[in-house]
């Protein structure tokens, strides 16, 4: 019984997604904390800007997206840290599927626990900032895609910086500039929806971003993980 059985990529991905979901469910605070962070920062804005609902609703798209971006950054900072420390990352690299595929289950699980959750809750936060409820579909749709792109980009940065001391700040420096197009397209879609314009162009661009990100980012993430395993 020395021969390892041939493995099926789909089966492998499913089992790894389950692994990461179990881990996330075992420590739910990691999932809840970014949401609480999101809520806290949303609360800070009216306190800093004044409670005028009209002014808040003008700024709401920008606020929501910047905060989503920051909470995404927080998630990316934790992304590979534990796995590098306990050796899971090197075992991932030993898997007989391409590493660029092997990293996807973790990203999927992370996105389900962060991006998806945040997007679904976001209309609530939008209401707090005076956004009308009828832009909620655009808000949710743009965040669903935006968080996915940001997670993919952030994972590239995370893979490159996990092995480094004080990688957190460095990560922010590396990936925040790359988030710019997502931020622009995301806020644009919301602003269009708010002012009776057509948000589909911006949403379509976000969709293109998800596709492009899914195609290219895993290659960069895999290369980055190999670099971090070198240390």
């Amino acid at each position: 019984m020395t021969e390892a059985r041939d493995i099926d990529i789909l089966h492998y991905c499913r089992s790894q997604t389950v692994r990461h979901l179990i881990l996330i469910l075992r420590s739910p605070s990691e999932m809840i904390n970014p949401l609480v962070f999101f809520l806290l920062v949303i609360v800070l804005f009216p306190l800093g800007l004044g409670p005028d609902p009209k002014q808040l609703s003008i700024l709401a798209p920008g606020i929501l997206w910047v905060v989503a971006l920051l909470s995404n950054l927080m998630i990316c900072m934790r992304l590979f840290v534990d796995d590098l420390e306990d050796g899971s990352l090197e075992q991932l690299a030993m898997a007989r599927v391409p590493l660029s595929v092997a990293v996807l289950p973790q990203l999927t699980a992370s996105w389900l626990a962060s991006g998806l959750l945040l997007s679904l809750v976001s209309p609530l936060f939008g209401l707090m900032l005076g956004l009308p409820l009828d832009v909620a579909p655009v808000l949710v749709a743009s965040l669903l895609m935006g968080t996915a792109i940001m997670l993919l980009l952030g994972a590239v940065g995370a893979a490159l910086t996990v092995g480094v001391q004080r990688g957190g700040i460095l990560l922010a420096l590396l990936i925040l500039p790359l988030y710019v197009p997502v931020l622009i397209a995301g806020t644009r879609s919301l602003n269009e929806a708010l002012h009776g314009g057509d948000p589909t162009v911006a949403l379509a661009l976000l969709g293109a971003g998800v596709t492009g990100g899914l195609l290219l980012a895993p290659l960069a993430i895999a290369a980055g993980v190999r670099v971090s395993l070198q240390l």
Partner: protein
């Protein structure tokens, strides 16, 4: 066409500006048991990792090996929040897709029967090591690359492992491991002293 599981020719391993090892030439055939020996810092782990292709950036030279490799490093890739059974079932190396009975048998073989559903975080260091080594009792790769497999094991554990190594070699597999202590592996064991490959 060779039957070798791993062939290294003139492998040199660097770390930054320093050359750790040079001209490492080694052929590992089915049935081999190799111990990588040498003092601290000579590069045992680095060589093992280069065999595993985990350290590809600073490795120069030819290396060909079979795909069917199991590697266990210093850190065991165990999650404290999962049970030993889950740790083995959803192991990130994904070398095999073991059934629950296979997992239970493997855990029993390393003396962890009854701990299948305990949280791994609650186990002792030696028990955690056993969970990691339980992978050797699952259908798992022809070439084993093991970094210090005997650490944190008691005498009985070491004996179980040595028996397993021999069985694996007889079944046509091969084991490469690093260790400071000498293992009781009968006539099968070859020792590779890395001192002869020390870099400049």
């Amino acid at each position: 066409m060779t039957t070798a599981l791993l062939e290294a020719r003139d492998l040199s391993i660097h770390k930054g500006l320093r050359q750790l090892l040079k001209d490492v030439t080694l052929c590992i055939e089915p049935g081999d048991l190799w111990q990588l020996a040498g003092g601290n810092g000579i590069g045992k782990t680095s060589l093992l990792r280069s065999f595993a292709r985990l350290a590809s950036i600073e490795v120069y030279g030819d290396l060909s090996r079979c795909d069917d490799v199991l590697y266990i490093g210093h850190s065991a890739a165990l999650k404290g929040a999962m049970t030993p059974r889950q740790n083995l079932k959803y192991h990130p190396s994904g070398l095999c897709t073991p059934t629950d009975t296979e997992i239970d048998e493997a855990l029993a073989a390393v003396g962890l029967a009854g701990y299948e559903n305990a949280l791994t975080a609650r186990l002792s260091a030696g028990q955690k090591r056993r969970v990691a080594l339980a992978r050797l009792f699952l259908p798992s790769g022809r070439l084993w690359l093991l970094d210090e497999p005997f650490t944190a094991l008691d005498v009985a554990g070491v004996a179980v492992l040595e028996q397993r190594f021999q069985a694996h070699a007889q079944a046509g597999g091969a084991v490469v491991f690093t260790s400071h202590q000498s293992a009781e592996l009968g006539g099968l064991l070859s020792v590779l002293d890395l001192e002869q490959f020390r870099g400049d």
